[in-house]
């Protein structure tokens, strides 16, 4: 029987070390290398931003100059030269940018197609997902705008929002992650290039999943996107985020900021599948991923849920957090993180309980293989006024191989006696018995491990939207390749 092209593709899919490692050859417009006030002004001018936003960026930049890089994370990497990168890269297009999808450079559309994200609206099955695609520093296409507009949902790039919805931007930008928050968030505040803005009006259940796909293409660029999602009273939105980058020998910086605001009775579900280029087996290349993600449950009964599958990046530094201000508000954090080869991840969450009867739940599954090092770092803080607060935390680590490491650093701080806080963690390896049982049933070692790992991660995977869950499950298998036997 002849081998069909599909089979070949599937095999390549499964065995290819990093299948998103290609580069799109496209003419780009780059800002001069390095970082100074002029670059900040340049970016702001490129985006035709209002003055207040430029002022805000400059304030952040000046603050950043005085800040020190944090060193408390269990991560080892050479010092980053912040002057040796481009802070702005945009695909060259007609002067006034694409008006519709037809005007978007076909090369870019092709790139997204290769990534499995067809932007042509008609190609999207039943229209369940609206996509905002960010290519290096700019948003290249946002789909389903019209349909969303009907529902009253604003879904656009953040540069558009700064021009078209200045009141909303001014009211919420920087209120969850202030410009002075931390080294990387401050850097982002100064140079953020693009990202997604979502506003769901009162009482609206967003009719489809919203999604942003981030792609770093240009060499030696950093990507600094900023996402702001506001769910007004009684609304609901589910948002997905995916990331890839080409294979390159040098390290590239990604420092994003995500801010979520949920008002009374609103719910935001934020899912991430992070698959930036992780570097090769010897730790050459890969993305440095320093991300600040935080959500504020501002109103009563608000809910924010983070789900993340972290398989990529050479360095991951990421703590999606919830500030539970409103009474009865809820925060959730579900995470699967894989470190293989030389990858390092220091990730976790913060749950700050301020309102009465606030609840939070943390489920973290860490898998370490090869020479990977992984740390769960989390904080649960119950403030004095958080009567009846409740937290449950479970962090499990799985070690594959004797050269990797798995670490757990939880902080629990409780200032209210009526709080009930529980934390538990375990570290183990795949037991010989489990492996033997699977292999006795005819599975090879690699499949057996993949199956057991999928079982280990199930509690988290089931919280992913269906479209992502399948992709994420495949990703687990690929990421662990070469770690068995």
């Amino acid at each position: 029987m002849a081998i069909t092209p599909e089979t070949r593709e599937t095999v390549a899919d499964v065995t290819g070390k990093y299948k998103y490692g290609f580069v799109t050859d496209i003419e780009s417009e780059l800002a001069p290398k390095g970082l100074n006030e002029d670059i900040v002004r340049f970016i702001s001018a490129k985006k035709k931003e209002p003055d207040w936003l430029l002022e805000w960026r400059l304030k952040a930049y000046r603050r950043w100059l005085r800040m020190k890089e944090p060193t408390w994370a269990k991560l080892r990497y050479p010092k980053i030269d912040f002057q040796d990168a481009y802070y702005y890269a945009a695909p060259k297009t007609r002067a006034d940018g694409p008006k519709s999808l037809d005007e978007v450079d076909p090369e870019i559309l092709e790139t997204y197609k290769k990534l499995g994200i067809p932007l042509q609206e008609q190609k999207i099955l039943a229209g369940v997902v609206a996509v905002d695609a960010v290519f290096d520093s700019v948003s290249v296409a946002t789909t389903f705008k019209e349909k969303l507009k009907e529902a009253g949902v604003i879904f656009c790039s953040i540069s558009e929002a700064a021009r078209d919805y200045p009141e909303l931007m001014r009211k919420y930008l920087g209120t969850v992650v202030p410009y002075s928050d931390n080294f990387y968030a401050t850097l982002n505040s100064a140079v953020f290039s693009d990202g997604t803005f979502v506003y769901v009006p009162e009482g609206v259940r967003c009719p489809m999943e919203l999604s942003t796909y981030f792609r770093i293409n240009e060499a030696k660029t950093g990507q600094f996107e900023r996402t702001l999602i506001i769910a007004d009273r009684g609304s609901y939105v589910s948002y997905l985020e995916g990331c890839t980058a080409p294979m390159r020998d040098e390290n590239q910086l990604h420092a994003a900021v995500v801010e979520l605001v949920a008002l009374d009775d609103a719910e935001i579900k934020y899912s991430t599948v992070q698959n930036w280029y992780p570097g090769d087996e010897n730790g050459k290349g890969g993305i440095y991923n320093f991300v600040t993600k935080r959500g504020a449950c501002r109103g009563r009964n608000a809910k924010i849920s983070w789900t993340q599958v972290e398989t990529g990046s050479a360095i991951t530094w990421k703590y999606p957090s919830c500030i539970l201000e409103g009474d009865n508000s809820q925060g959730e954090f579900y995470s699967v993180a894989i470190t293989n080869n030389m990858q390092q991840a220091d990730t976790g969450t913060k749950m700050i309980h301020m309102g009465k009867n606030t609840k939070s739940r943390i489920i973290s599954k860490g898998i370490s293989a090869g020479r990977g090092q992984q740390t769960y770092r989390g904080l649960v803080r119950v403030m004095a006024g958080a009567e009846g607060a409740r937290n449950f935390t479970q962090c499990d680590s799985l070690l594959l191989g004797h050269e990797c490491g798995a670490h757990t650093v939880p902080y629990v701080e409780v200032r209210n006696p009526s709080a009930q806080v529980e934390h538990e963690a375990t570290t183990s390896k795949i037991s010989e018995d489990q492996l033997f049982y699977c292999m006795q049933r005819g599975l090879n070692a690699e499949d057996a491990v993949a199956m057991i790992v999928n079982g280990f991660c199930r509690d988290v995977m089931q919280h992913l939207p269906m479209e992502f869950a399948v992709e994420a499950q495949k990703l687990l298998g690929i990421s662990l390749e070469g770690s068995v036997g």
């Binding site: 070690l399 004797h402 409780v414 806080v421």
Partner: protein, 461 residues
């Protein structure tokens, strides 16, 4: 109060600068105390190695300074009191008689070492009646007769702790216990640290060294007791070495005076198949830190650490542990429990490190906290750092209040609320208390727990 209010009015930056200035002057004061005391301290007339060792320790202290909350290991311990007050070293004229009635454990006979106001008290100590092969000496004497052992320990100083360095630089007194191979010193040795009047603004820098040779056995009961309300500082350092197959049991009762700062630091090294069981009760003192660093350096060694904190009235307790599993087949178990009433704070900072190659390590950590009052605070940070894959490591931590259902159940059986609370609290602490092997010591600790509960009950009603 007044001072606090003033500090609040100042801008944060100013306050930080001020704290730093205070810190620096405090360090300068400790350094000048060392210089003036140097020749009068024990061993001042002794060989060069000790002089060199102390000089090096002082230099380390000058570099490291007093620990601040900016250091991760000191995140939950506020040592501002050390920078505020110039705690002068203990001197013979401070060794006023201390009322010791509470310091001993009823029914417990056997050898005892007594330190009164930071110095060895030969009159009340009783070092006789030890089996052959057991050496128990005041440190001053040991510096002459067992210099080999002391030097070996002091040379192996860990470099990163400012308070330990200061202890070495100023070390004045302490004891040495050495148990020869295959000798069992089963009767517990009582070590009493009593502090009474006349020790205000003084510091006790005691150094205790315990060396158990292969297959030796010993049991220690350490009691820190303070009778006054004056402010003083106890900075005891213990170095415990267990040879192959040796077994060491210790019970530490920290019941310092109401104004005291206690920063106890222990380093334990376990060789092959050695075992160390350590139980602590933190009950008295304004700021108390109980730090245990255990190196599981021999295969099959085992460490069991347990402790209870009972806090009220603005007391602040920290339990800091580090279990360093360096070799395969080590076992460690930790159980720490806190009960906190009005204004009390407790922190558990525990770290388990499993080094590369330390396969088959079995380590567990549990920290449970009971808050009895709105103004209490519990912090916990059970940390795992694991570099080996074939291990069993788990930790659990909880914070909560007394279970309403349980209280209701007891009351429905005709038990009054105060008694019901006592029963539940004593049961909660019971898991720690029952780990004490020696009956008299266990009874004493259980009495202290129920006495504490009665005092809290009286304070509430």
């Amino acid at each position: 109060m007044n001072l606090n209010a003033k500090a609040m009015l100042r801008s944060p930056r100013r306050r930080k600068d001020n704290d730093q200035a205070m810190q620096q002057t405090a360090e300068a004061r400790y350094i000048s105390a060392y210089r003036s005391q140097f020749d009068r301290l024990a061993g001042g007339d002794l060989p060069d190695w000790l002089r060199a060792c102390r000089g090096a320790a002082m230099e380390r202290f000058e570099t490291l300074g007093l620990p601040t909350r900016k250091l991760e290991d000191w995140k939950y311990t506020n040592l501002a009191a050390l920078a505020r007050t110039a705690f002068a070293p203990a001197e013979p004229d401070t060794a006023a008689p201390v009322d010791l009635d509470d310091g001993f454990i009823p029914g417990l006979s056997g050898p005892r070492v007594v330190f009164a106001n930071g110095l060895f008290d030969p009159k009340r100590s009783d070092l006789a009646g030890l089996p052959d092969g057991v050496t128990l000496l005041p440190l001053r004497e040991a510096l002459n007769t067992r210099a080999d052992l002391v030097q070996q320990i002091l040379d192996a100083e860990s470099p990163d702790n400012g308070l330990r360095a200061l202890n070495t630089a100023l070390l004045a007194d302490g004891f040495l216990l050495h148990v020869a191979a295959n000798v069992a010193a089963d009767a517990p040795i009582t070590v009493v640290h009593a502090t009474g009047d006349g020790f205000a603004e003084r510091a006790a820098q005691l150094r205790h060294i315990v060396v158990l040779d292969d297959n030796a056995r010993a049991s220690l009961v350490e009691i820190f007791i303070g009778t006054g309300t004056e402010s003083y500082w106890a900075n005891p350092v213990r170095d415990l070495r267990c040879g192959a197959g040796a077994c060491l049991e210790t019970v530490t009762i920290i019941d310092e005076g109401a104004g005291a700062v206690h920063t106890g630091h222990s380093e334990v090294r376990l060789d092959r198949e050695a075992r160390s069981d350590q139980v602590a009760l933190l009950i008295g003192g304004a700021t108390v830190r109980h730090e245990l660093r255990v190196a599981v350096a021999g295969e099959g060694a085992q460490a069991n650490l347990a402790g209870a904190c009972l806090g009220a009235n603005g007391q602040s307790f920290t339990v800091f542990t580090e279990l360093d599993h360096q070799v395969p087949h080590g076992r460690s178990n930790q159980v720490f429990r806190s009960v906190l009433d009005a204004g009390a704070h407790s922190a558990y900072q525990g770290r388990v490190v499993v080094r590369k190659g330390a396969q088959k390590t079995d380590a567990s950590q549990a920290n449970h906290n009971l808050l009895l009052d709105r103004s209490a605070e519990a912090d916990t940070k059970p940390e795992l750092e694991i570099y080996a894959d074939d291990v069993k490591c788990a930790h659990g931590a909880t914070v909560g209040e007394l279970d309403g259902d349980m209280l209701f159940y007891l009351q429905s059986r005709g038990i009054d609320p105060d008694t019901a609370r006592s029963i539940l609290v004593e049961a909660f602490v019971g898991e720690v208390v029952e780990k004490i092997a020696h009956t008299h010591v266990r009874d004493k600790v259980a009495d202290m727990v129920s006495g504490w509960m009665k005092r809290q009950g009286a304070a509430i009603t």
